[in-house]
Amino acid sequence: MNRHEAPARAEAAVPPPASVSEPPIPPYREVTTAAMILGIVVGVVLTASMTYAGLLIGFVVPASAIAAILGWGLLRGVLRRGSIVENNINQTVASAVNNTSAGVIFTFPALFLMDGVSFSPWAIGLATVAGAFLGTLFIIPLRKQMVDLERLRFPSGIAVAEILRSPGASSKKSMYLVGASVLAFVVGMLTNAGTIPSEVDLGPLFGFPAYMPNVWAISLLSVGAGFLTGRAGLTVLAGGLLANWVLAPTVVALDWVPVPEGVEDPDAVLAGTIFTEMIRPLGIGLLIGGAVAGVALAAPMIRAAFAALRAAGPSRDRDELPIAWMYVGTLGSIVLLFAAAYLGAPEVGFFRATLTAVIGTLWMWLAGVIVAQCTGMTDWSPVSGLALLAVTVVLVVSGGSVGLSVMIGAAVCVAIAQGADMMTDLKTGHLVGSRPVRQQATQLAVSWIGPIVSVLTVYLIWETMGFGPGTDIPATQAVALQQMIQAIQGGEVPVDKYAVGALVGALLTFATGGGLGVLVGLSMYLPVLYVLPYGVGCLLAMLAQRRRDGKVFIANVGIPVAAGFLVGDSLAGVIFSFVQLFQG
């Protein structure tokens, strides 16, 4: 079918003058039952699958690109209708449902693995649903700032927009998109299956010790994300090199890190200590300080966005959800969070439950801003680090209630995943011309589904197969959180490192008036093996920009190829997860 034939009645309806017998012009399809149902079905299937796969292999993949591709196949191919913005609603719904699985698998399963910790799965479900609502609502006034004004890149958002627009784009552009997707898919499948290595260690080649990692992930996704970020992403590369190639050898040379004795490979142990006890906590601190300073600097724009939202009135043509929704929803979610805390951990009492609900809500907002900024600037989100901080804070506030801490940690994880996803979808929506209010409303309408499906799936797997050390399902993320909680209980919280990081992050952001603190923080938080190929992507974008026809080349070749890398790699992750599922 020719793309311009789709709603042929609409095309034919315009030129002739209006007459009594003329059939009504069909509205441009956007929020439709078909898009909603398809999005929910895809989202639920992916949520259950990704929850299982996440416990099994330790990672999940986002649903947006998959949903967009399925959308074309089903909405347009099978149902013989469907528009670009309708498919955008479909992918918004699917990713809104699916994105919570990462938050749940990182936190909730840890409770099953800890002896003597009592918890209620229903309370966890309630808390994560509150988190899902809050994550969507908090982001409403920030859309204008991040998408419209600061123009954050949101590489995945651009990639999904490329898929959505591909049927209307030139055939060459579509060819680049498909070709790059196929290449990234093949490479992704081969690395996932272990046919080719997933990383290459160039350290020995250059004589680097293990604590100066020169490891490169074979990840076209990272290269694509770097390309779509462009020059701004070079800061991530610079920060990664600073942390791993300058800080790490210097602290070793200064004897500032205890050298392990009696181990086979002391350099490898040093590398682990330096990353987990030095660089990563500093990176988390930088993220927090940089984000808080960024919010302070953006205050005039955020104020303007609030003012515009308040001035909008009850018009049917408004662009955003009314700000009152955010106020009412926030209040409702605090009540939900309180109910979850009070019913799920009655031993903490009324006062501590209230305090936990309020602090949890505030942290969700701050963490949501941080993650949305990180996703916008680089496509990476430091969910686990921020959830860990939430667990730490709630452990202190609740007087040491592990059940409550993990529950709030799960809610925070879900909230920030939801916020980052909403913002990425809004970027996609901007590029294809969707109405933000429709995306916000649909995301809000379905955001509660994912946490319930994910929590139930975890419970079901625990009851039927079990997970954790000694089982077929290792649940590595949950084991990591369990170990971290035990470390926190032992008093090993690197508060001083968080504080130094926050100071440096805030100063960097205030100094340059941009998101420098967040970018440097992210570069220290991430393992260098992803930062290096990401930097290559940034450099390639800068090289392309230098061509005489740089802008046109980037728009017509660079962006489709980079988007294809993101899509193909994600698709390989999903297929690989399904293969793992069927192999049991």
Partner: protein, 178 residues
Amino acid sequence: MRIRANVLLSIGTILATLGGARLPAVEWTLVVVGAIVLIVGGVLHRVDARKARSEGGVADTGADDEMLRSLSATLDELCERAPSLSLEALVEHLSELETGAMGQLADSIPRRLAEMGGERFAQIFGEYAAGERLVHRAWSAAADGHRPEALRSLQEGADRIRAAVTSLDGGPARSVVA
């Protein structure tokens, strides 16, 4: 001065994070020295940015303003011609605008933000961004073969971008639809 500022920012970051990295306890003297170097680097960075704006700003601002006016005029013209264009031709025209004039305007945004300050920038470019999104919607509708929506969105997009130009010229900010 820009190079000096960047060097100081880098040195400050290295010193402060190095002090912070020490195990088991932070080396606070190094952190404080690093923070001071960072602050000096930040001040130099801001002074340099202000100087660059005052020296080259007028010419750049004039060109940026002209670019926005020119885009608005082009869109108005396209609105007039659009009903007689085929949908393929409309998609082609809109694609050219998206990768051409609108892409250039997007590149100028960080500079404009620094010049105008957050509130005024938000008034003008908030309106512009809404118009830009509607132009993208016109592209999508045209590619989908839905002429009424393509024409309506194109007209609304042109209106919003014209409102941004009016606001740039000192007129009232629209900000009715948010």
